[in-house]
Amino acid sequence: MARAATNRRKLGLTLLAWSIGIVIFFPILWTALTSFKTEAEAVASPPSFLAFHWTLENYTEVQQRSDYFLHFMNSVIVSLGSTLAGLLVAVPAAWSMAFVPGRRTRDVLMWMLSTKMLPPVGVLIPIYLLFRDTGLLDTRVGLVIVLTLINLPIIVWMLFTYFREIPGEILEAARMDGAGLKAEILYVLLPMAVPGIASTLLLNVILAWNEAFWTLNLSASQAAPLTAFIASYSSPEGLFYAKLSAASTMAVAPILVLGWFSQKQLVRGLTFGAVK
């Protein structure tokens, strides 16, 4: 009796949860489906869900009409490059904050976080003019620099919270045994911190991949990552839904898969430890 009631409740919840999940996911699903339609079928009324002529031509055409691969590589280079550069600077900083905290450590951490709260329009104009005058506008190097800096506070914070879970005695033991600072960080800390560093890397690649304020304002035809490249589809000529969908699907799919793997880190990284 009770068992049957529980099962009926579970069935009801299952139906409800799946319906809501599918509604929320629907725009992404619809984009993926449209990317396999012809342009005529993409705007057909009434629209067809699966019973259409499946084609891959949009994917080849997106590449031919504009060098999609160039922008894809820009995204890869900018997001990976800025994350690696950020880690290089942040690992030593987080090491000292986690294992040799001083009176000021707390203030420094909080101050770093406060830089993340500076609205980008507050510094847009000087950065734009500096980039224009130094030839960094529309270059991958320029974007790597900016994205490294805007995500550095998050990288330091995430690493700090992971490092703090590593027992400091192990590092001290290495120090007693005469390991220098470099050896301590490279051979003792890093191997233990690999999972935390990997999570930090993952979340930051995602954030950098989707960053759309600086990439839109500082890049044009050459260095534009996918965020900025896809914005060029906002002023279309002729039929373009299927091509927009193909370009979007390729831009979203890889990062969506990474994102699904990093659910847990997302909470940790974006709340700065305020929610556990």
């Binding site: 900083a93 709260m117 003019l129 839109l216 906002s234």
Partner: protein
């Protein structure tokens, strides 16, 4: 424990990160502040001169500023209410046992990973377009007149798009908080005859209060700077119907080349964001035990 040697090393290892962030924050901010007191137009090079607070006077008395301020508040407030209410509902649902929990969770958080330009263009063209969009097709199927979302209700449409993007974040944080709730307390309350609504109001909501505050503060920081979604859907229009402060500063400085006026707007945006940031920093600081 910490020797003088390791203290020195700590300062050394921290300095690159500190110096870089200091440069990033201080130099451009001081430049913006300086520009905001100049007559400085990129189309008229060489005519820069000190004009005191005139830029602020113009910016703060411009009707576009009040429109942008109202739009910013509506956008931030609207998205916050929708994502937190929806997030609590979804978190409660996802916390229940049902078949395929893991998969539904993946479906629900997916929009967070879609880049802003893609989600805005997909919503604008494939869903909301009054001629070829899916919503129009559904309306026609039901015998209704298709609704031109971005022309008739531009700001609400953008609120809808941004809500879709941020609902996963709110859900995920609230779900994490919900799962740390002591089940025994709920069961004890149920034994004592507390109904579902009672348990929600007196046990679950207070437990989620902290997470709700964090979601509010973090989302506010990001929502004050919504930009790409506006750029690719409405360009701030029609008129100034969807111009927020961020977009207004962008338009003034990079479309009208008025660096002085744009800088004044940038400083105003910084001041507004700081009001929120102070509260957020306090919340995070309280939880930081060093």
């Amino acid at each position: 424990m910490a020797t003088a040697h390791s203290r020195a090393a700590a300062r050394l290892t921290m300095s690159p990160a500190v110096l870089l962030l200091l440069c990033w924050m201080l130099i451009p901010l001081v430049m913006t502040l300086y520009f905001s007191f100049l007559r400085y137009n990129l189309l008229m090079p060489g005519t820069e001169e000190w004009i005191g607070v005139l830029n602020y006077q113009y910016f703060l008395t411009d009707p576009a500023f009040f429109a942008a301020l109202a739009n910013t508040l509506a956008l931030v407030g609207g998205v916050l209410v929708l994502t937190i209410a929806g997030g609590i509902g979804l978190a409660l649902l996802l916390d229940q046992p049902f078949w395929g929990q893991g998969i539904v969770r993946l479906l629900v958080i997916a929009p967070f990973f879609v880049m802003p330009t893609v989600s805005a263009l997909v919503w604008k063209n494939m869903l909301m377009n009054p001629v070829n969009g899916l919503f129009a097709a559904i309306a026609k199927g039901l015998g209704l007149q298709p609704f031109d979302f971005l022309a008739e209700a531009p700001l609400s449409s953008i609120i809808l798009i941004v809500t879709w993007q941020w609902l996963p974040f709110a859900t995920l944080i609230l779900l994490t908080a919900l799962q740390s709730l002591d089940r025994e307390r709920l069961e004890a309350a149920e034994m004592d005859g507390a109904g579902a609504l009672d348990r929600f109001i007196h046990i679950i909501l207070p437990h989620l209060a902290r997470a709700m505050t964090v979601v509010t503060l973090i989302q506010t920081i990001f929502l004050l700077s919504v930009f790409a979604e506006i750029l690719v859907t409405t360009n701030g229009g029609p008129g100034t119907a969807t111009t927020n402060i961020t977009y207004l500063v962008y338009a003034q400085s990079l479309l009208q080349f008025d660096v002085g006026g744009g800088s004044a707007g940038g400083i105003v945006a910084v001041v507004l964001a700081n009001i929120v940031a102070v509260f957020l920093m306090r919340m995070i600081g309280r939880n930081l035990d060093i």
